[in-house]
Amino acid sequence: MMNATIAKLALQALLGRRRFYVLLAFPVLLIGLVALVTALTDGDAAYGVLPNLGYPLVLPLVAILAASSVLGPEVDDGSIVYLLSKPVNRYGVAASKWVVALGATLVAGALPILVAALITGDSTRALALFVASTVAGTAYAALFLAISAVTRHAVIASLMFVLIWESLLGNLFSGIAWLSIGQWGLRVGHAISAELPDPANLPYAVIASLVVTVVGVWFAGDRLRSFSLRGED
């Protein structure tokens, strides 16, 4: 399924030029902020940054940036036709790009959360949050890749899912936890440390994350299989 050349090209697109610096800005910002607050007050006050800012905002933004930069620019300027004209399995294309996006999400999203949580002390809590962000990051990368394959407005559509559905409405209606990737991740993390909230049940959270990941990658491949070129709207 995997295609090393496509993965390499996607990695180059991801690390190319200015995009790399924006991707780098997130971990630096998060770790810097947590370290600063820990130094000024104490670790428990600084920990508040992670469930309020790091996990619900920085992690999905990194996933959006990663997923949309491995596929978005090619769809945007139409150069994806050169890739699609090669005799490569389209599902393989989607899977290769997803692996790169996942790697970037974990390195620039989940790992900084682990480091920042370790700075605040309590390594069990840090490990739980890391597992939560790994689970959520995996599903996020697949979902946002699928969105990038469908619409040119992928970034905005993904942002609306994260900011409006998961954050804004998720805070108002607790039932949205059943349909929110971030909450599933937290539920898996809750199995390790009880400091994380417990919004849904564990088997459901695991299965739902897996389903979103598999279906997201499959759907991205399916969209690439029946890709139609459109002009600028």
Partner: protein, 297 residues
């Protein structure tokens, strides 16, 4: 034909004998005005394809829905005041306002630069700075309309429900004045980012970082400084760092019904106003410099 048009034109390469235009030629002001109107229309997708209307109107509908619900509640239950103040309503829907700016700024600022159609605009008697300022003005006015519509809906609902007119008028006036400042700041920031990074997705993420992530960081730091660090002035000073905390801080100082972690005292008001104005001025200078540079290439 030359006897019909009066004076023979000079500098014509090839005269096919068509009738010349000898009416009044309008100058820069007319071009600037048209550019402004087109910009506002394009920000809402009017005069563009159906698909580009979806995003702005979806966001507008989402920011109107809670206002409609609030008005319904006030009318049906006979409350004697609105449960949320006008300025606080804008603050509560800030995600939608920021997303609107992030989504629509690339429409106004990136496309001309990416497709190089900017040279066609600048071939007219319209200078690059005026072009940049008109684009900014149309985004700022669209933002203002975006925040103004729910506010006016709330206001109309409040008047129809028979709430005190002079109270409502004062607080809606304050909210609108703050919205003008907010629109100027947010349009400047989103416009500057979109004119520098020309890929749409990239510009959107950049604007979201500057508007939503930065505001989140500022809010967290403000809360920690006040509740954990016991530093009221530290908390208020942090509020200088993002457009939304500037808006909220000024609303708090002006008694417009927005809560900030630490109350903003009268002494801080000049600092907040000056930083806000400097922010707008800085963004405008940046935009003008950017379009000058691109236009001269």
């Amino acid at each position: 034909m030359s006897e019909l048009s009066g004076t023979p034109r000079s500098g014509v390469i090839h005269d096919l004998g068509y009738r010349h235009f000898d009416g009044v030629r309008e100058g820069t002001p007319a071009i600037a005005r048209t550019l402004f109107v087109t910009g506002v229309r394009h920000a809402y997708g009017l005069g563009r394809s159906g698909k580009s209307k979806v995003m702005p109107f979806l966001l507008l509908a989402m920011s109107l829905l809670p206002a409609a619900i609030v008005v319904g509640v006030v009318v049906l239950t006979g409350l004697d005041s609105l449960p949320v103040s006008y300025a606080d309503y804008t603050n509560q829907t800030q995600l939608l306002v920021s997303l609107f700016a992030a989504a629509q700024a690339p429409v106004l600022f990136s496309r001309d630069l990416r497709h190089r159609s900017i040279v066609l605009y600048l071939a007219r008697p319209l200078s690059a700075p005026v072009f940049a300022l008109m684009r900014w003005l149309s985004l700022a006015v669209s933002m203002l309309v975006f925040t103004l519509v729910p506010t006016l809906l709330l206001f109309a609902g409040a008047l129809l429900a028979g709430l005190d007119k002079s109270d409502q008028l004062t607080s809606v006036g304050k909210a609108i004045a703050l919205q003008v400042l907010l629109a100027a700041m947010v349009a400047g920031i989103a416009g500057l980012i979109s004119s520098v990074s020309l890929r749409r997705g990239f510009a959107v993420v950049g604007s979201v970082m500057a508007l939503i992530v930065l505001t989140g960081v500022v809010t967290v730091v403000q809360n920690i400084a006040y509740y954990e660090g016991d530093s009221e002035s530290g908390s208020v000073a942090t509020g200088l760092a993002s457009p939304w905390s500037l808006h909220n801080g000024l609303a708090n100082a002006w008694d417009a019904g927005v809560d900030t972690p630490a109350a903003v005292g009268a002494a801080w008001v000049p600092a907040y106003v000056i930083v806000a104005l400097l922010l707008v001025a800085g963004c405008l200078l940046g935009l003008v410099a950017r379009f000058r540079k691109v236009g001269s290439r």
